[in-house]
């Protein structure tokens, strides 16, 4: 590749000109925040679990996949063609609650029965165990889904089709056509940020988590049953992953599929590490950063300025590497968090 002044400079000027139009900025920001909301919900459970226990939960993506399929199942069974948009949205909220409850219970049971016996080993074994369980969950899901005549990949279109028309249509914001779903995702994202913030700052277990991510041994020394807190927090983290999965159910870029088990995991890792493992504030900031970077590079590609198809993915993982090179502990992370 050679840099030719005569062609490259006008191209850069042209790009900047297109970038600073209100429609472009509106598109990048609204889509970016919508994606950021999804990334936040996908990643926050992972960061809570790591912050308290130092366990990197590799089942996180598989749990999101379960959430997406369970949510999709309930929606497909209860929605018919004539169902109105408001009813669908109300059902969606019900689904969120159901999936959250189910997966919180499942996650707690998983932590209690399988992870608890190996806390005394090196962190590597917790990674290995959760990774193995993630493999099993993915395969079981594939078997179950296939037996019901649904292809595990590409995404299950039946469930995606239950989204109300107001979300699939595009609306004009400052001249940019933007899908209605993004607004919904932003609203849900704000609710999730506020909800988790309230949990962390206004509840007893939130206090344990904040204290535990600072100094787990001291928390234990103060007579708090850390093991019980682990079980509950692991459950909540899993429940949040499930909610993230439900959120992906209507998203045309994702949708319920067996591939979520790995894709969600990798993206959640990126967000959590850029933000700093175990930091709530960092996860919010990193989700916004990654979301905006994603929508910006998607725009670059969509307008044909850059022809490299993998640009958004490459940028996101590139951000991870750059962040780890210049600031290994992440945006708001504390070095050597989680006691190792």
């Amino acid at each position: 590749m050679t840099f030719e002044l005569a062609t490259e400079v006008p191209l850069v000027i042209d790009t900047l000109e297109r970038l600073f139009q209100p429609s472009t900025i509106a598109r990048i920001i609204v889509e970016g925040l919508g994606k950021a909301a999804v990334y936040f919900v996908l990643a926050v459970g992972l960061t809570l679990v790591f912050g308290l226990m130092g366990v990197l939960n590799f089942t996180h993506g598989a749990m999101a996949m379960l959430g997406a399929y369970i949510g999709g199942l309930i929606m497909v069974l209860s929605v018919s063609d004539g169902t109105g948009a408001l009813v669908r949205i109300a059902l969606f909220v019900v689904v969120l609650a159901v999936v959250f409850a189910l997966l919180t219970g499942f996650g707690s049971a998983f932590e209690y029965s399988l992870i608890r016996p190996i806390y005394d080993r090196t962190p590597m074994y917790q990674i290995l165990l959760t990774f193995g369980v993630a493999l099993i969950l993915e395969e079981v899901t594939r078997i179950v889904v296939l037996s019901q005549g649904i292809q595990p990949e590409p995404p299950w279109s039946g469930a995606m089709g239950t989204a109300p028309a107001v979300f699939t249509e595009r609306y004009d914001i400052l001249g940019a056509p933007i899908r209605g779903l993004y607004a919904f995702e932003i609203v849900l994202g704000i609710v999730a940020v506020v909800g988790v913030w309230l949990f962390l700052n206004r509840t007893l277990y939130g206090l344990y988590i904040r204290a535990g991510s600072e100094d787990p041994e001291m928390v234990e020394a103060l007579g708090i049953d850390v093991r019980q807190a682990f079980t509950i927090v692991f459950g909540l983290g899993t429940g949040l992953a499930g909610i993230g999965g439900v959120l992906l159910m209507w998203d045309p870029l994702w949708g319920p599929s067996a591939l979520l088990a790995i894709d969600v995991l990798l993206y959640a890792f990126v967000v959590v590490i850029i933000g700093g493992l175990g930091s709530f504030k960092g996860t919010v900031a990193a989700a916004i950063l990654v979301g905006i970077a994603d929508s910006f590079t998607t725009w670059l590609f969509a307008t044909g300025i850059v022809t490299f198809t993998g640009l958004p993915e490459l940028t996101i993982f590139g951000l991870l590497v750059i962040m780890l090179i210049i600031r290994p502990q992440g945006l708001y992370g504390v070095e050597e968090v989680g006691g190792h």
């Binding site: 193995g132 890792f269 993998g310 640009l311 991870l320």
Partner: protein, 416 residues
């Protein structure tokens, strides 16, 4: 330890006894398989024993898992992006065979491109390691994974590789992928699933060597050599420092070792052999795609093999690979696995009998056919929970030392 009055060759030979056994086992296996196929047990053999094509996967995936274990098991740094090096080796060989690597003319012997690719992986590992070794534990694992994913996404969309980079690139049919001494024709054996050398009536004793068999033995020699180089490094003072880093890095540093460069050296060496494994895979499979070389799940396979075989034992991952591929083989229909066997064995009435609305046939199709990942996942979790030292590690614990040191003494005890 052997007694001092014994000749050193004798004691050395005794130390190598288990190695000789394993090598002999691998070398004689195709012959055993060939003999079994002519007996009435042929259908059982093809149902329950891994076929030769799967044994070749055992060889290159085994080498990859060994190289993964070399860094992860011996220094304790989990290299979660190890597929990056495997992919580097594979893609380098494929691109070189297409004449697409600058400075490497088309028609360069495979042995040379393989070593060049491995050297490239060595350099890449030094670059990745320089950044990653500033961190430890989970952070190191994530950082290497991040690098590998960047390379994966890049290679998946890089138009230079081929017109459809998501599908990967293939080695042109005329390319000579031979293992042997470069530029000596009679000492070169072409490998490849379809294009390997085959020999009829070898040495006039009526034995035919198929293309698969040639690939099997040729790959086996490279894997064996690579294993012994790594084994020598582990048993050298350098290897002792690697283990010291795993056991207590602070102390190793306090004793005066420059642990950073020891870790870098170990990481780069392991990347070198991972790339050789990748190159062998590409040469045999006739190409590489991002999903079977650079992807996270390729590392995951090596991880599973290393855990099952015994992480922190160099030969363990090879047995893990054997176990893994044996499982894949009997649970796939591609080469007459368990489900084909059951379908032939069981009478029609049993196959169509319904139990709770599910026929036995459906059951086989749903729970056996191609379901290896499910059972491997379960076995993997059971190993992590109950056999954390893996197959070879547990045997070592029982014998109270490495197999080569302890086996002769143990056998001696049983002889009396």
């Amino acid at each position: 330890m052997s007694s001092s009055d014994e000749h050193w060759i004798r004691s050395y030979g005794r130390d190598q006894f288990p190695h000789v056994l394993v090598v002999l086992g691998f070398a004689l296996y195709p012959i055993l398989l060939g003999v079994l196929n002519r007996t009435p047990l042929a259908s059982e053999a093809s149902a329950f024993l891994p076929g030769l094509t799967f044994m070749i996967i055992v060889l290159y995936m085994g080498l990859f898992a060994i190289s993964f274990d070399f860094i992860s098991g011996y220094t304790g740094y989990l290299s979660f992006g190890h597929a990056a090096f495997y992919g580097t080796g594979a893609y380098f060989v494929v691109l070189a065979a297409n004449g697409q690597v600058p400075g490497v003319p088309e028609g360069t012997p495979f042995m040379i491109t393989m070593l060049l690719g491995a050297t490239l992986a060595f350099v890449v590992a030094l670059a990745i390691g320089a950044v990653s070794f500033r961190l430890t534990g989970v952070y190191f694992a994530m950082l290497t994974l991040g690098f590998a994913q960047v390379m994966y996404e890049f290679i998946r969309h890089w138009g230079y590789v081929s017109s459809n980079p998501t599908e990967g690139a293939t080695i042109p049919s005329g390319a000579d992928m031979s293992i042997g001494v470069p530029f000596v024709d009679s000492l070169n054996f072409a490998v490849g699933r379809l294009s390997g050398d085959s020999f009829e009536n070898v040495l006039g004793v009526g034995i035919d060597v198929s293309a698969t068999m040639t690939s099997y033995y040729a790959l086996g020699i490279v894997v064996l050599l690579s294993y012994f180089v790594m084994q020598r490094i582990i048993h050298s003072p350098f290897g002792k420092v690697m283990i010291a880093i795993r056991e207590n890095e602070e102390r190793a540093r306090a004793v005066g070792y420059n642990v950073f460069w020891y870790k870098m050296g170990a990481f780069a060496t392991s990347a070198f052999f991972a790339a050789i494994a990748g190159a062998l895979f590409a040469a045999y499979a006739g190409g590489a795609s991002p999903d079977n070389s650079f992807y996270f799940l390729v590392t995951a396979d090596a991880l599973i093999m290393a855990i099952i075989g015994g992480i922190g034992t160099l030969a363990g991952p090879l047995f893990g690979a054997l176990f893994h591929e044996w499982f894949e083989d009997i649970l796939s229909t591609e080469s007459d696995g368990l489900s084909t066997y059951l379908e032939q064995l069981l009478p029609e009435s049993v196959l169509t009998a319904e139990v709770a609305g599910l026929t036995i046939n459906d059951f086989i199709g749903t729970f056996l056919d191609g379901r290896a990942p499910l059972y491997l996942g379960i076995i993997f979790v059971l190993f992590v929970l109950f056999v954390p030292n893996g197959l070879l590690g547990s045997i070592r614990d029982r014998l109270g030392g490495t197999v080569s040191k302890r086996l002769p003494a143990t056998l001696e005890r049983y002889r009396r």
